[in-house]
């Protein structure tokens, strides 16, 4: 089985999904028309065509076809999955729901999909995959408040589900409630403390909330954001997103610290777990480290050296723009 079938086509980049969907029809026909699948029952026991890759590939092809709009092939994949795992399997129920959501033409049909979800949940309220699809459908039609309520019930029932907390954080962020988003991301980090990308995400969200604050609170928030990015760099060598965030937060911190030289002393209460704000020297050093590392990553990434080719073009361009923007300011 060639490797591309094993990655789910849900990233922001549509190209892998396109290539997967193009290969889907050949895959399904090859699986169905092989001579061994038409043997009578006792002989099929001797032939093993099962493998983990087979069913992962079916699911990924199904998702890719739904994404590009190839509904007949998607239905073939879904039928194969149902034939193997049964209609009442938790995960298969979610996939069936996905198919119905994708092929719904108007609000009426979407309402019917919602009713089907409620029906399933009435019979068995513990099917989390269907709960998640229900929340996703509510968000998709624009009912954000109901989606938030649904997700709150979900995380109440299953507080270690990091994916649900991350989705809740994203929902709160889209509604502008930054404090709640920060709380949810902290819960994600409780469950998965070594997730360097979630540390970076939390740093980004705290930085966003810092821009709405003033004075001592803003300083504290900026310092926390900087610390989050530092932690993400500790967890991952050469993390471009972490260094980018570190550069931005240290830049803003330096401006704020220099602007508030004579200003308010920021109170730090050790009992409440606050840390003292970082000194100007530390922030300057971090800024220099971040700039140097960003320059190195941009240089090596654009040259395409082996071991440095995993950065996307967009990321490298953004990093380059950040460095150039600040050097322009210094030159002027």
């Amino acid at each position: 089985m060639p490797a591309p079938y094993l990655t789910a086509p849900i990233s922001a980049d549509p190209r892998p999904a396109l290539s997967l969907a193009a290969q889907a029809p050949t895959f399904t026909t090859s699986q169905a028309s092989s001579w061994w699948s038409s043997l009578p029952y006792p002989l099929t026991l001797f032939l093993n065509t099962e493998s983990q890759e087979k069913w992962t590939s079916y699911e990924n092809l199904f998702l890719a076809c739904l994404r590009t709009g190839d509904y007949p092939t998607a239905y073939t994949c879904l039928e194969a999955l149902i034939a193997r795992f049964g209609k009442t399997n938790d995960h298969i129920l979610a996939l069936q729901g996905l198919y119905q959501e994708a092929t719904a033409q108007n609000t009426g049909e979407l309402e019917e999909v919602m009713k089907a979800y409620d029906e399933v949940l009435r019979e068995d309220p513990t099917i989390f995959s269907v709960r998640k699809r229900r929340a996703a459908l509510l968000r998709s039609v624009g009912k954000a408040a109901e989606a938030i309520a649904d997700l709150t019930v979900l995380v109440d029932a299953s507080p270690t589900d990091a994916e649900a907390w991350a989705e809740l954080a994203d929902l709160y962020l889209s509604q502008g409630s930054l404090e709640q988003a920060v709380y949810c991301l902290e819960e994600v980090l409780l469950v998965m403390p070594n997730a360097w990308n979630m540390h970076a995400r939390l740093g980004e969200v705290v930085y966003m909330s810092a821009q709405k604050m003033e004075g001592g609170d803003q300083m504290k928030a900026l310092a926390e954001s900087m610390r989050r990015f530092c932690r993400s760099i500790e967890l991952c060598d050469g993390y471009l997103r972490g260094f980018y965030g570190l550069r931005v937060t240290t830049g803003t911190l330096l401006e704020t610290l220099q602007g508030a030289k004579k200003g308010q002393p920021t109170t730090s209460d050790p009992l409440a777990g606050d840390l003292a704000p970082p000194s100007v020297a530390t922030v300057k050093k971090l800024n220099a480290v971040a700039t140097a590392k960003l320059a190195e990553i941009v240089r090596r990434g654009t040259a395409g050296e082996k071991g440095w080719d995993g950065y996307s073009e967009a990321e490298l361009k953004a990093a380059k723009d950040l460095i150039d923007r600040d050097t322009q300011r210094i030159e002027r």
């Binding site: 849900i10 989705e167 979630m198 967890l235 991952c236 082996k306 440095w308 995993g310």
Partner: protein, 146 residues
């Protein structure tokens, strides 16, 4: 490095087989069955072969074993990173580490699932965006991270 290691392994095997065969051939000679000058042996009488071997066969055997040990160590695979940050760094920075060759092996950043969140995938929104992109002409050059 791989070529040198293979060469050392081959030499080691050749020398070992040569030494073993020489020992066998030598043991068939009548002169070999004269008892050795120091006739106390660590082995009990029934297990003692009472054969004298020339020194160079023994040296050749030991030399071939040393060669094989060196060759096996040199031809072994590269050590994988044990520090979390080094491992995470390779996942972020290198394209190879992102490939999935078997289910459960490879696949890049395992925490990327927290940002992609398959369980909550917005199929209608993403589908519409993808079809819009396809209708708008798709992409002209296929560069960048897949």
């Amino acid at each position: 490095m791989a070529a040198i290691a293979t060469a050392i392994n081959v030499l080691g095997v050749l020398f070992l087989s040569h030494a073993v065969y020489s020992a066998y051939e030598h043991s068939l000679l009548p002169s070999a069955s004269t008892p050795p000058p120091l006739s106390h042996s660590l082995l009990p009488n029934s297990l003692d072969p009472k054969i004298t071997l020339p020194l160079d066969i023994t040296l050749e055997t030991l030399f071939s074993v040393l060669l094989l040990c060196a060759g096996m160590v040199l031809s072994s695979a590269d050590l994988k990173p044990i520090q979390w940050r080094v491992w995470a760094g390779t996942l972020e920075a290198s394209q190879e580490a992102r490939e999935v060759k078997e289910v459960g092996v490879g696949g890049g950043n395992p925490y990327q699932a927290l940002e992609e969140r398959v369980g909550f995938w917005d199929v209608r929104g993403v589908g519409k965006a993808t079809r819009g992109w396809m209708d708008g002409g798709g992409d002209k050059k296929g560069k960048g991270r897949a």
